[in-house]
């Protein structure tokens, strides 16, 4: 932290949406933190977006509502935005800008870290290979999350992505090790009731003491949302790489983040890209998503689960589209399953965990894990085809094997996929349920599983 005091300017030339243009600037730097003081003494924070020709464009995080051109002062603080970090952050609740939101004092900082983070040296990155158990069968069994992975959840409006996110936050563990595990939860533009749900859910499960919550509510200024994932990931990186913890960072809802980015871009009169989002949306999203992983020689890891709601369930929308390019797979929630009352309504055929193959198997989870996952994909895919066929020709026109697939598909949804909001299944239980589903098929159909595993686990009639 610098000792020098910044200069306070009073010449506000223009206020436009979330932006403020300040005149007669002599000293200002890109990304510098600015303290805005309104005529009635209210203080807000902002950062410099552009400097030049004696002017500075400042983005006001808490919005410009109530600010007037005359009487407003802007103090340039000579530093970028930092987050005070220490182990004391665990169990604390902050707002979207990293200020305490739990009636407790500011944390005593070990360090002050720039919220923009430092890029991870690609050469020092370690390939993620260790399993994280979420207690959710469909994720653990078929879309395994691996320490250091970034695996987004693509959802739609009204679907239970937040319930799933809270369940993952409560239940996630690194099995078989005594290493510390922490959850950093960033709620971006969520409703008050949702924020309370997250908080209560972690409190009631006793998981709050190993969690840090950042809550930006729907009625908070949209511009704050630009900072929320950054402060959250800064804390996640500190806990992981300074304190050696395994951190699961859940960011929900990244669509609100992208909307805020679009708002600023429009106010800056930038040339819009697809659907009005700025052309640098990909880069900006990557700046956040790439803040996950493991570093050689360090114990901790940052695993990211960003959640985004797809406008009109459109997976080709720029936000899920660009997210999919950056992340290592995706978990897609399906509206058909949601309407059938199945929770979690994960559409497995559209979902994928690209790093699953490296995090499962003998010595990590179970020897048959990958094979069972693949066989379940195969069986459910065939079941879906048979369901479509049955709608045309009727059940009577199906073969005996087709009927078995139909049965396996139903069993997959009711016995394996479906689970309660508070049901924490062990991997053994998940695998046992997977074998229950696969055992409803004739043994000869299990072509993706090694014979010795079929002999050991198949529960059907020989």
């Amino acid at each position: 932290m610098s000792e020098t005091v910044g200069i306070e300017y009073t010449k506000v030339a223009e206020i436009k949406g979330p932006l403020m243009v300040i005149d007669d600037i002599t000293k200002a730097s890109f990304d510098e933190l600015v303290e805005i003081e309104s005529a009635d003494g209210e203080r807000r924070l902002g950062k410099v977006l552009e400097v030049g020709f004696g002017k500075a464009v400042v983005q006001v995080f808490e919005g410009t509502t109530g600010l007037a051109i005359s009487g407003t002062k802007a103090k340039f603080l000579g530093k970028t935005m930092t987050m005070p970090v220490s182990q004391e952050l665990l169990g604390r609740v902050f707002d979207g800008l990293g200020r305490p939101n739990d009636s407790l004092p500011e944390p005593v900082a070990d360090r002050f870290i720039d919220v923009n983070g430092e890029p991870m040296n690609p050469e020092r990155r370690e390939y993620p290979t260790s399993f994280i158990q979420t207690g959710v069968s469909v994720i653990d069994g078929m879309l395994t999350l691996v320490r250091g992975q970034k695996l987004p959840i693509f959802s739609g409006s009204g679907m239970p992505h937040n319930i799933l996110a809270a369940q993952i936050a409560r239940q996630a563990t690194v099995v078989g090790t005594k290493e510390d595990f922490a959850v950093v939860f960033a709620a971006i533009g969520v409703q008050y009731s949702e924020a309370q749900y997250f908080k209560r859910s972690l409190e009631e499960s006793g998981a709050l003491r190993r969690s840090v919550l950042f809550l930006n509510l729907a009625d908070d200024p949209a511009i704050e949302r630009i900072i929320t994932p950054r402060v959250a990931l800064t804390v996640a990186e500190y806990l992981a790489f300074d304190l050696g913890m395994h951190v699961l960072a859940i960011l929900t809802d990244m669509t609100n983040y992208a909307e805020a980015l679009r708002e600023i871009s429009a106010a800056r009169e930038e040339v819009p890209g697809r659907k009005g989002y700025p052309g640098y949306l990909y880069t900006d999203l990557a700046n956040n998503y790439e803040r996950a992983g493991r570093i050689k020689g360090k114990n901790g890891s940052v695993t990211q689960v960003p959640i985004l709601s797809m406008p009109a369930d459109d997976i080709t929308h720029p936000i899920p589209d660009l997210t999919g390019y950056i992340t290592e797979g995706q978990i897609v929630l399906g509206r058909d399953l949601f309407r059938k009352g199945i929770y979690p309504s994960v559409n497995v055929l559209m979902s994928l965990s690209r790093l699953m193959k490296d995090g499962v198997g003998e010595g990590k989870t179970r020897a048959d894990h990958m094979e069972v996952g693949n066989q379940l994909y195969d069986a459910y895919s065939r079941a879906q085809e048979v369901r479509a066929l049955a709608e045309i020709v009727g059940k009577a026109g199906l073969t005996g094997v087709d009927l078995k697939y139909l049965e396996a598909g139903d069993l997959f949804e009711s016995h394996f996929l479906k689970q309660n909001h508070d049901e924490n299944r062990t991997l053994e239980e998940t695998m046992s349920r997977a074998w229950d589903v696969l055992s409803s098929l004739p043994e000869g159909e299990l072509t993706k599983i090694k014979e010795k595993n079929v002999r050991q686990y198949y529960k059907g009639k020989p």
């Binding site: 300017y9 009073t10 103090k75 009631e204």
Partner: protein
């Protein structure tokens, strides 16, 4: 007579057949009941195991939850106590700073703060503000007198409420450099807080 004995035989036969049927039925009912009892016992045992298992899980969860929230509450109370102590230290430090004598070190500090402020604003017409007790000190400082020869520099007659230090402003009041000790303390508060907390906890 013979017809009577034939009737008797028939009745006996029917009776014995009925008796044997009833015994068979009783036997089969008995076996059925035993089977039902046996299967019920298995299902009751498995239900019992399931209920006990669920209760154990719930007890574990509750235990974790109670321990977690108790630890968290204790930690939070400690944070509040530490913060109250830190605030008290700050208040006492400010009182002590106000009453400290204006020695040679303070004169040098004022000179440096003034130099910094004048350089930061860098205009040809500037106003210097300070507390009532520091006015003479500012007038006599080399930074003030040297600059006054080159540019228009005014010492505001209206004193500011500050522990010490100076505030430099451009004459049109569009730029302000706050070099008061109050603003410096406020700015460095997070770092000072850390040192105070470490002392309170007996660390370092």
């Amino acid at each position: 007579m013979s017809s009577n004995s034939a009737l008797e035989r028939t009745v006996n036969k029917v009776l014995s057949q009925k008796e044997s049927d009833m015994i068979t039925q009783i036997d089969s009912a008995y076996h059925e009941s035993m089977n039902n009892l046996e299967s019920s016992r298995t299902s009751i045992e498995s239900d019992y195991e399931r209920i006990i298992d669920a209760a154990r899980k719930q007890a574990d969860n509750l235990k974790r939850q109670v321990i977690g929230s108790t630890r968290l509450n204790a930690r939070n109370k400690q944070l509040l106590l530490v913060e109250a102590a830190v605030n008290e230290v700050f208040e006492k430090a400010k009182v002590a700073l106000r009453s400290v004598g204006k020695d040679e070190n303070y004169k040098q500090l004022m000179n440096r703060l003034l130099e910094e402020g004048l350089s930061a604003i860098g205009k040809d017409d500037m106003i210097v503000e300070c507390s009532k007790t520091d006015m003479e000190l500012v007038k006599k400082s080399t930074a003030f007198s040297d600059r006054q020869k080159k540019i228009k520099l005014t010492l505001s007659e209206k004193p500011i409420d500050a522990i010490g230090g100076v505030r430099v402003r451009s004459a049109d009041l569009s730029l302000t450099y706050d070099g008061t000790l109050d603003s410096r303390i406020e700015r460095l508060k997070p770092l000072i807080r850390k040192s105070i907390v470490q002392m309170l906890r007996g660390e370092g």
